[in-house]
């Protein structure tokens, strides 16, 4: 039996607009799924389908209107914030906006380490940081002591990933981590997530609009449309034999280098 990391039950986010004549919109409607240990689950869908809403609710950045999120068998409302973020970490779309441009890139790493390992001495901290950077394929001499503008988007994104790893999280929420990164650095991040899954057993919730990346990286996929799940299953089942009309339509319009539209 594979350990279940997170279970999401009937998660709903409702937005109400208007004062007199109220209008309801659902950011997410009745979303349920679970992620097992060492599994990459992809959420795919077009813009406005509620992928990021779900991610933000799991990261406790948005309060769900209804539904439960159960992490390691305990409802997330029972967790203390600090304890929760030791288990769940996230990386986002825009690596540039995650840094303060007045500080060197070490700043994010030092802040993270002083939260999680505040008792160890400085030499030990430095060793941990350089080890973690090695995991994400960076050398400390190339990146530490530099400012964000001196590094490329791919490098910045990998440093943020290293920051997440300092907490040794069980679940990583990757919200379109590759869309602001150059095409040739994209593969590096995807391969890195795969490696983390295999070696450290981290579970990943990978959110993307790029079907190709989802197909490459994930074990299971969930297709969302307007806040609702329309199709779910193992990657190849969904992408090679889609059952739902919407999924079929979506897959037919994906540009691919392996086929041409008639």
């Amino acid at each position: 039996m594979v350990e279940e990391i997170i279970r999401i039950e009937n998660l709903t986010k409702r937005y109400i607009s208007g004062i007199i004549k109220q209008k309801e919109t659902y950011g997410a409607l009745d979303v349920s799924f679970d992620i097992k240990r060492g599994e990459i689950l992809s959420l795919v869908g077009e813009s406005g389908s509620g992928k990021s809403t779900v991610a933000n609710m799991i990261l406790r950045l948005l309060k769900p209107t209804m539904g439960n999120i159960i992490l390691l068998g305990k409802n997330i409302k029972e967790y203390k914030i600090k304890k929760y973020y030791e288990n769940v970490q996230g990386i986002f779309q825009d690596p540039y906006s995650s840094y303060n441009f007045f500080y060197k890139v070490d700043h994010v790493l030092n802040q993270a380490i002083s939260h999680s390992l505040s008792w160890v001495d400085i030499a030990e901290k430095e060793r941990i940081i350089s080890n973690t950077l090695e995991i994400v394929g960076l050398r400390g001499t190339e990146t530490l002591g530099r400012f964000p503008h001196q590094l490329s988007g791919g490098q910045l994104q990998r440093i943020l990933l290293a920051r997440c790893l300092l907490f040794k999280p069980r679940l990583l929420i990757a919200d379109e981590p590759t869309s602001m990164v150059d095409a040739c650095a994209r593969a590096e991040i995807l391969n890195l997530l795969k490696k983390l899954k295999d070696k450290s057993g981290i579970s990943v919730l990978f959110i993307t609009h790029d079907i190709g990346q989802a197909q490459y990286i994930s074990d299971r996929v969930i297709v969302m449309k307007k806040g609702e799940i329309v199709e779910r299953g193992p990657t190849n089942d969904v992408f090679l034999n889609p059952k739902n009309d919407y999924t079929q339509n979506l897959l037919a319009s994906v540009p691919s280098i392996y086929r041409k539209w008639a």
């Binding site: 077009e46 813009s47 490329s152 791919g154 150059d182 095409a183 040739c184 650095a185 994209r186 593969a187 590096e188 995807l190 391969n191 609009h209 790029d210 079907i211 190709g212 990346q213 197909q215 490459y216 990286i217 190849n236 992408f239 090679l240 339509n249 979506l250 897959l251 319009s253 994906v254 540009p255 691919s256 280098i257 392996y258 086929r259 041409k260 539209w261």
Partner: protein
């Protein structure tokens, strides 16, 4: 032999400012024939958009024309820069005059240019109809009016959408515009709407519609699909195909970093790296048998959707980052990241070789030296 539409000869354009001189486009040569759909591919910062701006004859303020020539339909759009520094002032005035002339005669009528994220430049407080009439005013000189007194103003004629129109008659112009937008798959009532009432794909199609009103010979589209969903993207690409079938635009230059999209519509492809053209080839060859080590790396780093799931290959990325274009290296610009580098690559920039023996494929790499 197909008709030559655009000839680009060793064009150079540098960004100049307090930050120094950035060699953004550094000697690019290629030809476009009638009926071609040419893709310009490359990672961000390689000079794709700068090249497109140079092709239109009026690059943005920071980008300066340096040398080379662009010939559109046998009209040269640059005056070569004199070597004598004392003549620079005179040259600058002449070039300005020519640019203004180009903007009037060539832009829209011979070259249609859709800049990057131009769908966001529609005026939010004006209806689309008014916006288009403003464009008319820019192009023609007088704003189309409801009624004109024949004695006061002369009637001007122009060809819109392949038909002769009295350009200063508002109703006549708008009918033509409405028909033109209908050809692009938009309903006629978009003219009466504000930009915020339209979806991203519709806005993009309106912008393309405005750029093709005069049925230009060649359309340059800079990342038209990058901000759109896959389904909208498909509709837009079908619009481009439709434009060709209807004979509105026959030649298209399509700039994108998204190679799967380029593969759908283009027949020829240029791969750029750090301001230089590294490979010119047919689109199929770029995907299935790329020649330059950079093109190979680029193709191998794409996670593309595979509808039959057969070719499950590992992705590889290119290590390192492009050189600083303020001070580009003497030799091959890909030297630091190349896995097949040789000693000669560091010293000398490679000329173009044609490994297939004909002119249809050219590659700037010493590996193909015979």
């Amino acid at each position: 032999m197909a008709e030559l539409v655009l000839k680009v000869e060793d064009i150079k354009g540098y960004y100049k400012g307090s930050f120094g001189t950035v060699h953004a486009v550094d000697g690019v040569t290629f030809d476009i024939y009638k009926g071609d759909i040419l893709a310009i591919a490359g990672e961000s910062g390689c000079g794709k958009s700068s090249l497109a701006e140079l092709l239109t004859g009026s690059p943005m303020p920071m980008l300066h024309y340096e040398s080379g020539q662009v010939t559109v339909n046998e009209i040269p759009i640059y005056i070569p820069k004199p070597e004598d520094k004392s003549k620079l002032g005179k040259w600058r005035k002449e070039q300005e005059k020519l640019s203004n002339q180009t903007r009037k005669d060539v832009l829209c009528k011979i070259i249609g240019y859709v800049p990057q994220s131009s769908q966001d430049s529609l005026n939010p407080v004006k209806k689309i109809r008014k916006f288009i009439l403003d464009v008319m005013k820019q192009r023609v000189g007088t704003k189309p009016k409801k009624q004109i007194k024949r004695s006061k103003e002369d009637i001007k004629y122009d060809t819109l959408d392949g038909q002769k129109v009295r350009i200063n008659f508002k109703e006549e112009v708008l009918t033509r515009v409405r028909e033109h937008l209908e050809k692009l798959g938009l309903s006629g009532d978009v003219l009466g709407r504000y930009p915020h009432e339209l979806s991203g794909g519709m806005k993009q199609r309106i912008v393309i519609g405005i750029s093709t009103l005069w049925n230009p010979l060649i359309l340059i589209a800079d990342e038209p699909t990058s901000a759109l969903d896959v389904t909208t993207q498909k509709i837009l690409i079908e619009t481009f195909m439709h434009l060709r079938e209807m004979g509105i635009v026959e030649t298209i230059v399509y700039i994108s970093h998204d190679i799967p999209t380029l593969a759908q519509i283009c027949n020829k492809c240029i791969v750029m790296y750090a301001g230089k053209l590294v490979e010119f080839n047919s689109m199929d060859n770029i995907i299935h048998s790329p020649l330059h080590p950079y093109s190979q790396g680029l193709i191998h780093s794409i996670a593309s959707f595979n509808p039959d799931g057969s070719a499950e290959t590992d992705l590889n990325s290119i290590p390192g980052r492009p050189p600083n274009l303020r001070d580009p290296p003497e030799g091959c610009r890909f030297y630091d990241r190349c896995n097949q580098r040789m000693d000669i690559c560091k010293e000398e920039y490679p000329p173009f070789f044609s490994p297939n023996g004909n002119d249809s494929s050219r590659v700037a790499c010493w590996l193909y030296k015979k």
